[in-house]
Amino acid sequence: MNEERYQKLKEIVKIYLPEDVSVEDISMESHFINELNINSANLVDIVLDVEDAFDIMLENEDMDQMQTVMDALQIIEKKLTVK
């Protein structure tokens, strides 16, 4: 997995973490809602930030599949490959 993209994604996710979750708690397997306790409403904002940061566009089904950090990185990689 591309380390640079992983770090970039962590930077994006950081602001959405609740007070009691730190950026060190993020791992590849982290589930955004169940483990990182991110407000589900904010997932749409993470998607928009990812689009801006990687200059890609995510479809509705990509959003539905984006449950974990790993999911997000795979979707990003897929989009960047077809670009």
């Binding site: 602001i15 409403a41 904010n42 904002d45």
Partner: protein, 424 residues
């Protein structure tokens, strides 16, 4: 007679002062918050001046989390959260940090329209077929009740949390709604307040109605002239004011500082009948509202020693004075002191009632009646009813016992609240 209700906290984000210290000093010294607005000039407004709070970025960061600040583009929401949070702290209350809501505390925080700039952003995105780019907070920033919702979350209130809206009556009406809820025993304390957005999209409609002054663009601090013969229309404003209303029992039990007691008040409508229209008040209704407020408060007309008027600096000021004079059956030198703070910060629309109530209440604490500015030339129609000596042109030492505050709004709606110096 219901339970007694007192004011235990105040907060303000006004064009001429943010926070009680600066705002109090501004009212005492006659410091103006009216400024030239380059943006209104660029947009070819007739009136290119306005009064808006100057909120530094590092101040906003104290009230909002970095996440809340992302994409935040709702000025009224910023003003309201600052004023509301400050009032809560001023009352010696802390945001609820527990897992359970505070069932005894509620919020009535009004507005006319919220998040106008955010709404404009959304309109562009939607029209550009980019609805998916709106993000998660567009709704929260543009729903009218966004302000009470944000404050409700910050403070953790579990009683009624709502937003009222009645044009320029909003702030004063909210105080009476909060008062009713506490006297009815349904809440122990209520944060009451109101806010109004800044900017051309809020103020444009008033410019189009040609009710804003156009000849003071290069002399902004002189533009807002309540009760003056040279009054030329109201200066558009924005901001927020907030008050903590509390049952006397709760305030005493907490050992809280008490600014004043809320004796009562009245709200009504002129029904857009008689001389009332969508934009002009029905004098019969205004007088009825004042009379009802006095009756409801259990005081005599002669007990009122200070009035803080609605007095926007239009041709209707003289009519308002006549209505007060008729309703109180007092005239000449027998009339109470009267002031309008709009000379200093224009007409803050939905926020006017709450900001002005905060100012009116500070007069109890300061033992002063704050001065009026820009009315060296009191309108001759006003002097037919009251002595000009009742219109203090600068802040005077005075110990108010009972202050009446009224606000009137588009839609022919009125509110009048009666505050009294607290003594047990």
């Amino acid at each position: 007679m219901g339970r007694r209700v007192v004011i235990t906290g105040l907060g303000v984000c006004a064009p001429n002062g943010i926070g009680l210290t600066d705002f109090t000093r501004a009212l005492q010294k006659g410091k103006s918050g009216v400024r030239f607005q380059p943006r209104l000039a660029e947009l070819k407004f007739g009136c290119q001046i306005a009064a808006e709070p100057l909120v530094p970025d590092n101040l906003v960061e104290k009230y909002f989390t970095p996440l809340q600040l992302r994409g935040l583009n709702a000025s009224g929401l910023v003003y309201g959260v600052i004023a509301g949070t400050d009032a809560w702290n001023d009352a010696g209350l802390k945001p609820n940090t527990g897992e359970s809501p505070d069932w005894d505390s509620g919020i009535i925080f009004g507005t006319g329209i919220l998040g106008v700039d955010k709404f404009r952003e959304s309109i562009h995105l939607v029209d550009g077929q980019n609805v998916r780019r709106l993000g998660s907070t567009t709704v929260l920033q543009t729903m009218a009740s966004g302000i009470s919702a944000y404050l409700g979350g910050i403070l953790g209130c579990g009683n009624q949390v709502t937003t009222n809206s009645s044009a320029c009556t909003t702030g004063t009406e909210g105080i009476l709604m909060a008062f009713d809820r506490i006297t009815a025993g349904k809440a122990e304390r209520m944060l009451a307040g109101s806010c109004s957005d800044s900017g051309p999209y809020v103020w444009g409609g008033f410019d189009a109605m040609r009710i804003l002054p156009r000849q003071y663009n290069d002399n902004p601090t002189k533009a807002s002239r309540p009760m003056s013969a040279s009054a030329a229309g109201f200066v558009p404003g924005s901001g927020a004011g907030a008050l903590v209303l509390e049952s006397l029992d709760s305030a005493l039990a907490r050992g809280a500082k008490i600014y004043a007691e809320v004796l009562g008040g009245a709200v009504n409508s002129g029904g857009q009948r008689g001389d009332g229209t969508m934009t002009a008040p029905n004098s019969e209704a205004v007088q009825h509202c004042i009379t009802e407020a006095i009756l409801h408060s259990g005081i005599e007309k002669s007990d009122i020693d200070v009035i803080n008027g609605h007095l926007t600096a239009t041709s209707k000021d003289a009519l308002e004075i006549e209505n007060w004079s008729e309703a109180l059956n007092r005239s000449g030198t027998d009339f109470p002191f009267i002031n309008s703070f709009k000379g200093l910060f224009g007409h803050c629309l939905a926020a006017a009632g709450s900001i002005e109530c905060v100012g009116a209440l500070l007069q109890f604490q300061e033992k002063e009646v704050f001065g009026n500015v820009n009315c060296e030339d009191v309108h001759s129609e006003i002097e037919k009813h009251i002595s000009a000596s009742r219109i203090p042109r600068k802040t005077e030492k005075f110990i108010p016992k009972i202050i009446a505050k009224a606000s009137f709004g588009f839609g022919d709606v009125n509110a009048c609240v009666i505050f009294a110096a607290f003594n047990d």
